[in-house]
């Protein structure tokens, strides 16, 4: 794609990320995944920043997917992402992160081995509706992906 991207150095981390996301692939294709989020949270389990990918896959799209268009859109996506650092906060070292997927309907347990890697989360939620900062929205049939950052609302009670 002729694009410079960043990825994790540590091989196991890379594998983790890859397998986690890859495990979602069949569900995304079926349109079962509504959002996927990378959530950064502090030691108490309260999120401080969430990168949310909102997905919409058009199930009834029958024609051939235009590779070039899709590639173009995705490229714009990745470019914007790499310059969005100013929108994010600097996080302390002991914070953790996880990838959470929001399903429209729960998958069958036995269907796919990969999905067994996904477990229910118990990261806490914010009490107030968060503040959204959109990063990129792209829509190229049949896929529509939007990325935005969520930060806690200013009226969110401090822990």
């Amino acid at each position: 794609m002729n694009l410079v991207v960043q990825r994790a150095c540590h091989p196991q981390l890379r594998d983790y990320i890859h397998s986690a996301v890859f495990g979602l692939l069949p569900f995304i294709q079926k349109g079962m995944v509504e959002r996927a989020a990378v959530i950064f949270f502090n030691t108490d389990g309260i999120p401080v920043e969430r990168f949310v990918f909102k997905l919409a896959v058009n199930q009834s799209y029958g024609s051939k997917v235009e590779d070039a268009n899709l590639e173009f859109s995705l490229r714009s996506f990745l470019i914007k992402l790499s310059v969005s650092e100013s929108l994010t906060k600097v996080l302390p070292r002991d914070y953790r992160w996880e990838i959470t997927a929001y399903f429209r309907s729960l998958p069958e347990a036995s269907a796919n081995k990969d999905v067994e890697q996904w477990i229910p989360t118990d990261t806490r939620q914010w009490e107030q509706p968060p503040l959204l900062t959109p990063i990129k929205s792209m829509s190229s049939e049949p896929l529509c992906v939007q990325l935005y950052i969520e930060h806690p609302s200013l009226s969110e009670p401090k822990p």
């Binding site: 729960l106 009490e127 968060p130 900062t133 990063i135 939007q146 935005y148 969520e150």
Partner: protein, 857 residues
């Protein structure tokens, strides 16, 4: 009283026979032979077939939640406090003021703790003297193999080792001839009331702990506290037939501990000098506030008695268990307790939980259940007179490899999940609760078949009376609901008036009609001035509305006899009026068809006072409602009403926010869906100027016509395509053409920009082009400002609606640009302010948050 202390986590007792009425014979151990044959009987083993279990769970009983709480002892105990407060309100409140200033330390205080003995059992056998010495326990079920829990056992039963919380089958195993009685909540309430009456007779300083336990501060009472205690105990026995025990000491802690020693049917006094002695061998778990977990932790440090606890330093205790708990332990181990009797603990949360009999087949089941649970919680909130802001939904979910629960219909081995959410405005409304609960429930993404328990807690409580005085009064919702209450009232008044006028002659009719007007005076400001200025002819104190204020449509559709009656009242002038105004209504109807008729009609039919018609319509209401009463079909009245509505509605700025720019976003987001949508669609983007309320006052002006034409002007070009919602359809989008031919400068510019920016279908390139034009020059034009404003706001709103689902980035860019323009232009500030609430409302709906607009540009 033998009630488990950790009530929250304890299972609810089995309600196996709750459908059955209480027909227990004391001596016969009746387990079967029930009235309803839907209960399975005989000697059920643990492998009972499914169908007969239906009625004992959410699966079979549609009223499960309601019945559950009716028969729940935990519910009784939990909600008792509120009942007590209501009954003894003045006493307990009055007490607080006086005692708060006195420190307990200085004087030699005397505190008494009174506690009835095995309350539930004592009450049910008080009329069965022969059972006094026999083992008796209270339980829902009398089944030899049952898993219902014993809630209370008398002392003879305790001698057999029977304890509260034990399964009835285990109790029966320990004592086969144990007599089981069912609950009798009415009796419990009665006895509790009597108990407290006795206590209050002997002093005002009563702190209730539970329905059968209380503290009294008897420092200021005359005589020996011990004698007083005997007196009180005797009176309790005489009134209720049940015994009580009492402990007397210098503070609440010691008094309570003393009662422990005193039981049953006894009293015990611990003077200050004997405190240390008493405590040295006392096991730590006897201290109130030390539960299982704390006990285990202390045992690990080899602390088993209070004497041993004394030896640990305060610092060390606070380090290990926290500041408050550490201090409490240090104090208590020395018999020190500075609490004052009577300080009422306000509940921090109100809620309801069901952890027994919960089985769902499908999502619909679960939704019904949640709905009923919300009703229960709403009732409890109202009962306590509070509203809450934080809602926590707790769910017990069966663990993956858990077996069938030991207890019949129990929850078994579960993991506890909990999600909560907070809203800005406190509420106790059942529909709001249902909506929030539905949302919370959805966020769990659970398979409903795995659910074994559900609870809803409401916290961040605020007293209802206080909140009503504050924001609530000014919020849209309360205003709308109060309007409906008023119109209902008025309808009732009208009906009564009509009844009497049926019988009377005209003179009487006048009075009752006047009465109608009198009632409506409070509602309409204009009415007042009318009666003083306008409607000249009548000299009586109360007058019918001036003719010019009557609604044509209503008048025309009145049945002839009514019309003639009204005509008489107006001295024959009505006929002329109708004829005169025939011409004008056509004009009115034409211009105002822009507004959605069905919506308004529907709203009125449903009796909602929401929207424009009824609320604005204050001075027309008497006639209109009067007409409504008589007409079998509503339709004519409604169609008449609506044609009048919008014009006059828009002028009354004091009744409804007259434009979206006035709407409070937080309130708007809280409204139910239909209301929100209606408001967004019906309110104009901004206030229509020029029309002052005075215009309507003077009949000579014929304001209707003026209104009619003015609105025609404003809406003429725009109304068709605005309403069709297709400004953005087509290539180029329809708005481009319209704007090109418009006579507003700014619209022309926009259309031009469309082409300049490359004719994409998006707004952001256009806005970016605009930034090259000097923005503040746009303010210079005054021509058609209103029209332009209206159109542009519509344009933006339709654009938002179009893009919100799939392209939030675009919307974000557009609004960041608009905000930048707003820094330099009056026009854009206004536009931005108008559309902003709409934007955030839609973002909230689709993304669950608000756009972050306050970054530095």
């Amino acid at each position: 009283m033998a009630v488990p202390s950790n009530i929250d986590t304890e299972d609810e007792s089995s309600v196996k026979n709750y459908l059955q009425s209480n027909h227990y014979q004391p001596s016969a151990l009746v387990s079967s032979n029930c009235i309803n044959n839907q209960n399975m009987k005989g000697s059920p083993s643990s492998t009972v077939s499914e169908p007969s279990n239906q009625s004992h769970s959410t699966l079979g009983d549609p009223n499960f939640v309601e019945n559950y709480f009716k028969n729940s002892r935990l519910h009784f105990i939990g909600t008792w406090r509120n009942r007590y407060r209501k009954r003894f309100r003045t006493l307990s409140d009055g007490f607080n003021c006086t005692s708060s200033n006195i420190k307990a330390s200085a004087l030699k205080t005397a505190i008494m703790h009174v506690d009835m003995d095995c309350f539930f059992v004592s009450v049910v056998i008080r009329n069965h003297l022969e059972l006094r010495d026999k083992p008796v326990a209270v339980c829902h079920s009398d089944n030899r193999k049952g898993t219902a829990e014993i809630s209370s056992a008398n002392y003879p039963a305790r001698d057999y080792g029977i304890k509260a919380g034990m399964f009835v089958r285990d109790a029966k195993a320990l004592c086969p001839h144990l007599v089981i009685f069912p609950y009798n909540f009415e009796a419990y309430e009665e006895v509790a009331d009597q108990f407290y009456s006795v206590l209050h007779k002997h002093g005002n300083k009563v702190q209730a702990v539970s329905c059968d336990e209380a503290f009294l501060d008897v420092t200021d009472s005359e005589g020996d506290p011990q004698l007083l205690a005997s007196k009180i105990r005797r009176e309790i026995f005489e009134t209720t037939g049940c015994t009580a025990s009492a402990g007397i000491a210098g503070n609440m802690l010691m008094a309570r501990l003393a009662t422990r020693t005193a039981k049953p049917d006894g009293q015990c006094y611990i003077p200050p000098e004997r405190v240390d002695d008493y405590l040295s061998q006392l096991p730590i778990k006897a201290l109130p506030g030390v539960g299982y977990v704390l006990e285990e932790k202390l045992k690990k440090q080899n602390v088993w008695t209070c004497g041993q606890l004394c030896m640990i330093s305060k610092d060390s205790l606070q380090k290990d268990f926290g500041l408050k708990t550490g201090e409490m332990l240090w104090n208590y181990s020395r018999g020190v307790d500075n609490r004052l009797v009577g300080l009422i603990q306000e509940s921090k949360s109100v809620g309801a939980e069901v952890n027994w009999g919960v089985r769902f087949k499908d999502v619909k089941d679960a939704q019904n259940f949640l709905s009923n649970l919300c009703k229960e919680v709403s009732l409890r909130l109202q009962g306590c007179g509070v509203e809450g802001r934080t809602f926590t939904l707790k769910i017990k979910k069966r663990r993956k490899d858990a077996e069938e629960p030991t207890k019949y219909m129990g929850h078994g081995d579960c993991e506890n999940l909990s999600h909560s959410t907070t809203v800005p405005v406190a509420t106790d409304d059942v529909e709001v609760l249902q909506r929030i609960t539905k949302q919370l429930f959805g966020s769990f993404h659970l398979d409903v078949k795995e659910i074994r328990g559900v609870g809803l807690q409401v916290s961040r409580l605020e007293s209802t009376e206080n909140s009503k005085q504050g924001l609530e009064r000014n919020s849209l919702k309360s205003w709308l609901t109060s309007a409906s209450a008023r119109t209902e009232e008025l309808c009732k008044n009208n009906y009564v008036a009509k009844e009497s006028s049926n019988q009377g002659c005209e003179g009487e009719g006048d009075e009752t009609l006047g009465q109608l007007c009198g009632n409506s005076v409070g509602l309409s400001i204009q009415m007042d001035s009318n009666t003083s200025n306008g409607a000249a002819c009548l000299n009586e104190v109360s007058v019918p509305p001036p003719i010019c204020h009557l609604d044509m449509g209503v008048l025309k559709s009145l049945p002839p006899e009514l019309f003639s009656e009204l005509n008489e009242i107006y001295g024959g002038k009505l006929v002329d009026f109708v004829a005169k105004n025939k011409g004008k209504t056509e004009n009115m109807n034409h211009t105002l068809r822009a507004y959605s008729h069905e919506k308004i009609e529907g709203a009125m039919k449903e009796g909602q006072a929401a929207l424009l018609p009824s609320m604005v319509f204050q001075n027309e209401i008497p006639v209109e409602n009067k007409a409504k009463q008589h007409i079998a079909k509503e339709v004519p009245a409604v169609s008449g009403a609506e044609s009048f509505v919008p014009a006059s509605g828009l002028t009354k700025t004091d009744l409804i926010p007259s434009s979206l720019s006035q709407v409070d976003t937080a309130v708007l987001q809280q409204l139910p869906e239909e209301l929100k949508v209606d408001i967004l669609e019906h309110l104009p983007a901004h206030r229509m100027q020029v029309f002052s309320p005075n215009v309507l006052l003077y009949p000579t002006e014929i304001p209707l016509e003026a209104l009619g034409t003015k609105t025609a002007e404003n809406n003429s070009g725009s109304k068709d395509f605005v309403l069709d919602n297709n400004l953005w359809f087509g290539t180029p989008p329809h708005w481009v053409e319209k704007f090109k031919v418009s006579n507003c400068l700014i619209l022309n510019i926009l259309a031009e920009m469309y082409y300049k920016s490359g004719s994409t279908g998006n707004l952001s390139p256009i806005l970016q082009c605009i930034s090259s034009v000097s923005i503040h020059q746009l303010d210079a034009f005054q021509d058609g400002w209103d029209e332009a404003m209206y159109i542009l706001c519509e344009l933006l709103k339709q654009y938002i609606k179009l893009k919100i689902e799939l392209d939030i980035e675009e919307i974000y860019v557009c609004f960041r640009l608009l905000r930048r323009f707003a820094m330099k232009s009056e026009f854009f500030i206004q536009m931005y302010n108008i559309v902003y609430p709409y934007l955030q409302a839609l973002v909230g709906e689709n993304y669950g948050g608000n756009l972050h607009m306050s970054l530095k540009d």
